[in-house]
């Protein structure tokens, strides 16, 4: 061993400064400081943004359970008198609970399941089979994502008012001339498009499934074909069990978006007493915004307290769902990998 190596192998003497503390090199100190500054910056940023996100929810919580409408100037967060008055009015008068919630649950649950099934099938078709006009058809899927539903909602309304079930009702009318199928105010106005892959953001879900199936290795299917499995049983037996993570993502998003939907559902449930819960809520808030109902400030404040209570009622089921499934919500997006 030569000298320099021996020198290096000797335990290094820790340099001390005049206070007897360990002496670090300047660049090391700078790096450490920068690291800590960064961590502090990040922490503060997240705390600040957490405030921005949680603030409206916390105020809603505070307002919903406060008994005195005309809040005194000293009351900021914790109400002087707790009470359920706001909640009660919001529950029965504003939201028509629990019927509207049952309707919403039925609506979004079935629609979400239908959307998962259809968009999986269609996405698989787009991902794995070559046929004439595939690229064109897929660009139409993208188009259906971009075109907002507001553009074609009015004709939809008229179509649903007298729905012909793809010509079937003409056939029935031969025997029963007065037969008429009105899908308005029924769940079918949401289920039918979901079933046919053009429901709420249906194009996006087809896109997600297509990307997912494209990323899966072809060997599995080829093995299944060689073993004599037909294309449909291959899909059901081989692909579906492997696509559960994508299915869960689509299901959760579809569920939440159907629950929150106002634009389409508001149009499709025009006159029913029981309307989906988010429609009931937005209708109430729109009434206030038009100024037709509340002309005085105190009435407006009163209304705002009840509206906050109503918002809480509407978002609680979704928050509970998220609380239980947050792991799946967050991981699912990573696993599916929505990429370009």
């Amino acid at each position: 061993m030569d000298k320099s190596v021996k020198e290096r192998m000797k335990p290094q003497k820790i340099k001390k400064n005049k206070f007897g503390l360990q002496k670090f090199s300047k660049s090391y100190v700078f790096k450490e400081l920068a690291k800590w500054a960064y961590i502090i910056f990040r922490t503060f940023l997240f705390i600040g943004l957490a405030y921005v996100i949680l603030y409206p929810l916390l105020t809603a919580l505070s307002k919903a359970f406060s008994e005195d409408y005309m809040a005194s100037a000293t009351v900021e967060w914790i109400p002087k008198n707790f009470g359920m008055t706001n909640m009660k009015i919001a529950w029965s008068t504003y939201l028509n609970m629990p019927d509207s919630m049952f309707l919403s649950i039925r609506l979004s649950l079935v629609a979400a399941i239908l959307q998962v099934v259809t968009s999986a099938i269609v996405g698989y078709g787009f991902a794995r089979y070559k046929f004439k006009g595939r690229e064109l058809l897929f660009s139409l899927v993208i188009l259906s994502i971009i075109v907002p539903p507001q553009t074609y909602l009015i004709p939809m309304y008229i179509i649903y008012r007298r729905f012909h079930w793809f010509g079937l009702s003409y056939l029935i009318q031969l025997f029963a001339p007065n037969f008429e199928s009105n899908l308005l105010n029924t769940e079918w106005s949401m289920w039918l498009p979901a079933m046919l892959g053009v429901g709420l953001r249906g194009g996006l879900f087809i896109y997600i499934f297509r990307q997912f199936f494209r990323g899966m290795p072809k060997d599995l299917e080829e093995a299944a074909w060689i073993d004599g499995c037909g294309p449909f049983s291959t899909f059901v037996r081989i692909m579906v069990p492997n696509a559960l993570s994508a299915a869960l993502t689509v299901f959760l998003f579809s569920l939440v978006w159907h629950w929150n939907d106002y634009t389409v559902a508001g149009m499709m449930f025009p006159t029913a007493d029981v309307r989906p819960i988010s429609v009931m809520l937005i209708t109430q808030s729109a009434k206030a915004a038009n100024g037709s109902l509340y002309t005085s400030l105190s009435a407006d404040i009163n209304n705002s307290f009840i509206l906050n209570a109503a918002v809480l009622i509407v978002i609680t089921p979704v928050l509970v769902l998220f609380g239980f499934l947050q792991k799946y919500f967050i991981e699912s997006v990573d696993r599916v990998g929505i990429k370009g």
Binding site: R42, K130, P155, S278, I338, G340
Partner: protein, 308 residues
Amino acid sequence: MAKATTKTKKKRKASLASRNARIGFLFILPWIIGFAVLFLYPALQSLKYSFMNWDKDAILNLKGQSDAAFTLANYEYALTGDATYIRDVVSSLGTMVYEVPLITFFSMFIAGLLNQKFAGRTIARMLFFLPVIIASGGIISILQSGGMSTSIGGEESIYMFKTTAMEDVLVSTGISQDIINFLTTTVSKIFDITWKSGIQILLFLSGLQGVPSSYYEVSSMEGATAWEEFWKITFPLLSPTTLIAVVYTIVDSFTDYRNVVMKDIQTAYGALELGRSAAYSWIYFVIIGIIIFLVNKIIFSKTVYIEE
């Protein structure tokens, strides 16, 4: 003999391809029916409505109006007659131009932070997921205004976190008023930006996970700084995600409940002016379509893909 076998092979190949085409077609058949009946047909109908003069009585009695004459009156009204429509379109486009880059960069930045490992990352991710869960424009606007109606609350209630202190400080430094306005409105809009970035953050998070870590290992060995790493590796490789995020943001702001043009469309519909309402939405959609097309072109020309 050999010739014959190749012939049959070719035939079989061709028939296999056509069989596959048929099966593929069967798979997407539900969507084709849905698209034709519940999307294309109503969309074309709505286009037709925009060129029709509607008789309100006919609508109320639910009679079709197939014999109505072709007219440009609705478009003429939208472009010249209506006092607010053009102004609303311009203002909503202005908001879009201003908000889309902000939201894109904000969500990219937050996704970058959330992608690092630190204590409390799960909680932070949960927090940023809340806007995705409560992704309903109506509910957000109630939360934002505290349930107060805008007619009484006025313009002030649009900004939840208004920064007057910052404005005062900036004014005393003597910076021009335009810059101050831009800065203060941006800060005041932090609520909007944060609540509108939910999905985009998710998109960028999953995009970031697709960037191979070996790239960073190489660059750090070569002595690249974090700044260089971001602009030379992360940013280019995220470009496909950026494209999706930008298009999503545009579409989202377009269909937003608080969008003034959407309110115009709804108001016209509520007044049973079906033709006018359809014309409003088609004009707006064509403008947005052109914007999305241009954005697509611009970003697409600079997009980098990872070879798979």
